[in-house]
């Protein structure tokens, strides 16, 4: 049992290593020629108007929460797919139940108009 986890651990280790190497080399060896103009926020060539931190409307937060909700739902599919053979019919029914519950939540959000922008 331990062996499979070792495989996943190796996989995670290598990916983070590659990520760090790629960015790390850039930051260590790259020239730092920061200038005040380069640091300005990019606003298609013009000067930004008003303060940078502005009040964000709540709808953005709502969409972010909905996304996280259904994203985690898909994360649960991964381990289920790994052990799909051993679980047999029980696993299948269990997962469909899980999906059904989340679908109820989805329809509720849909009908409440959370997906519409206004």
């Amino acid at each position: 049992m331990l062996l499979e986890y070792a495989a996943i651990a190796a996989f995670v280790l290598v990916t983070t290593l590659i990520g760090f190497i790629a960015i790390g080399l850039g930051t260590i060896f790259g020239p730092k020629r920061a200038s005040e103009k380069k640091g300005m926020p990019y606003e298609s060539g013009m000067d930004p108007i008003g303060p940078g931190t502005r009040r964000m409307p709540v709808r953005f937060y709502l969409i972010a929460v909905l996304f996280i909700l259904f994203d985690i739902e898909t994360v649960f599919f991964l381990p289920w797919a790994l052990v799909f053979r051993q679980l047999g019919l029980f696993g299948l029914v269990e997962m469909f139940l899980f999906i059904a519950i989340l679908l109820v939540g989805y329809f509720y959000a849909w009908k409440k108009g959370a997906l519409e922008w206004e």
Binding site: G30, P31, K32, S35, K37, M40, Y42, G45, M46
Partner: protein, 161 residues
């Protein structure tokens, strides 16, 4: 790059590193989506399927200066646009090059009047000038290849810190 100042000239080590750096720069140089006037239409034709600038590593026209290495000034630069052009040039990350496409960008071209900056080299330092009004897509691609020659000939020792 930082390493250039530290290494200086180590003979065979830096030359292979230079070739590796030059290879990586010239095969994935992303231009900034910065079309001003008529030359922009020829630039779009050069980017489209028939002339296909992606064969030379220019797969994507990045709209934001943060992700682009090359600024193709395609069109006439007016007095009102010059500060914007300078701002976009400043906001590009360091190894950056400029191609001034067309006569209007290179020397004011047909328009010698109050509204046009006579040559974009008054605003940003230019590496390659492409002549033509508008230059044919082949002329632009020729300009890109000349720029690649210039990038490949760059030595580490010359790079200022």
């Amino acid at each position: 790059m930082g390493i250039e100042q530290k290494l200086g000239n180590l003979g065979v080590a830096t030359t292979t590193l230079e070739q590796a750096v030059a290879w990586s720069r010239t095969n994935a140089m992303w231009p900034m989506l910065f079309g001003l006037a008529c030359c922009a239409i020829e630039m779009m034709s050069a980017q489209a399927a028939h002339y296909d600038m992606s064969r030379f590593g220019m797969e994507l026209m990045r709209p934001s200066p943060r992700q682009s290495d090359l600024m193709i000034v395609a069109g006439r630069v007016t007095r009102k646009m010059a500060p914007v052009l300078r701002r976009l040039y400043d906001q590009m990350p360091e190894p950056k090059w400029v191609i001034s496409m067309g006569d209007c960008a290179s020397c004011g071209g047909v328009f010698n009047n109050y509204a046009i900056v006579q040559g974009v080299d008054e605003v940003v330092p230019v590496d390659v000038y492409v002549a033509g009004c508008p230059p044919r897509p082949e002329a632009l691609i020729h300009g890109v290849l000349r720029l690649y020659e210039k990038v490949q000939a760059m030595k580490f020792a010359e790079v200022k810190s």
